[in-house]
Symmetry: C2
Subunit: 168 residues, 2 copies
């Protein structure tokens, strides 16, 4: 496969993965484009390469900055803004984990905590089933949260190592 074709396919693959995981397809594609660009790109270049409108390009670039995956760059003597993606896979994984933990996991933990304060008759099987489900899911969610917390703190990428062997 030639480079130009491979680039298109990479952008497509990354976009598809994003949309399957609840991330805007175009945002993932813009990210992919920047990931494989040696140079920082302008809004204009992103628009042209992905065939998207100015508004769309601008909005997704801003979102990528909020997610901590892309940075603005200024070039000497240039009026335009340039956008550049962090290329380190481990750092990308951490940023995404951090953002989704904050946006999604934490609110769920909060709800589950409230739900475990439910009042009811301990002898009622409906009540017992409810409490058990909520408590089991809470435990799992808390452990996911703690693991992510540890992952976020780790400077080193244990995932590139062989920690998974420990699970036998």
């Amino acid at each position: 496969m030639e480079l130009a074709e491979a680039k298109l396919k990479f952008i497509e693959t990354w976009g598809k993965l994003g949309s399957e995981w609840g991330i805007n397809r175009t945002m993932a594609q813009v990210h992919a484009l920047l990931l494989i660009s040696t140079e920082a790109l302008t809004t204009e270049e992103v628009m042209e390469m992905l065939k998207i409108s100015r508004g769309n390009a601008n909005m997704n670039l801003r979102d990528l900055i909020v997610w901590g995956l892309v940075e603005k760059q200024h070039k000497a003597g240039e009026r335009k803004e340039f956008f550049f993606a962090d290329k380190d896979a481990w750092s990308i994984a951490r940023q995404v984990a951090k953002e989704r933990k904050k946006r999604e996991l934490e609110p769920v933990l909060k709800s589950l905590a409230e739900l475990s304060n439910v009042n009811g008759d301990e002898k009622d099987p409906e009540f017992k089933t409810f409490k058990k489900s909520v408590s089991d899911i809470s435990k799992l969610a808390k452990n996911v949260d703690k693991t992510l917390e540890t992952m976020l703190k780790a400077e080193e990428n244990w995932f590139f190592g062989s920690i998974f062997k420990m699970f036998k």
Copy 2:
């Protein structure tokens, strides 16, 4: 909070989490409803409790069965089908991981493998950046895959344990 209110809130929370992670909101709500039901429910009961149509209830119940999260049950002397959810949090997590690994991670690994066979000039910086991005992401994805593989094989729930402490 009273049981009835808590149940509604649980269904809502689970549905929201599902939709944020690319899972049909209603499917997640049907799952939540069955998770907190002591008894297996009929299509009719699901329709009524979630205020959804027959077609919608039927389709989401079937999908939950495909995902391995819900089973059909037959009751002696009853003509209707009853649906019952596996209540074990660890088993739910494993089923979801298994299904998404198969549907999403594996196709991405396949694409990445193809992309690493790209032809080009080793001296071209564009080519080098591309190869490095693809190769780094491949490594990460393979490790995620291996870790999931191990998780799926594990009968025991290492997540309920304290494995996360190992990451320091």
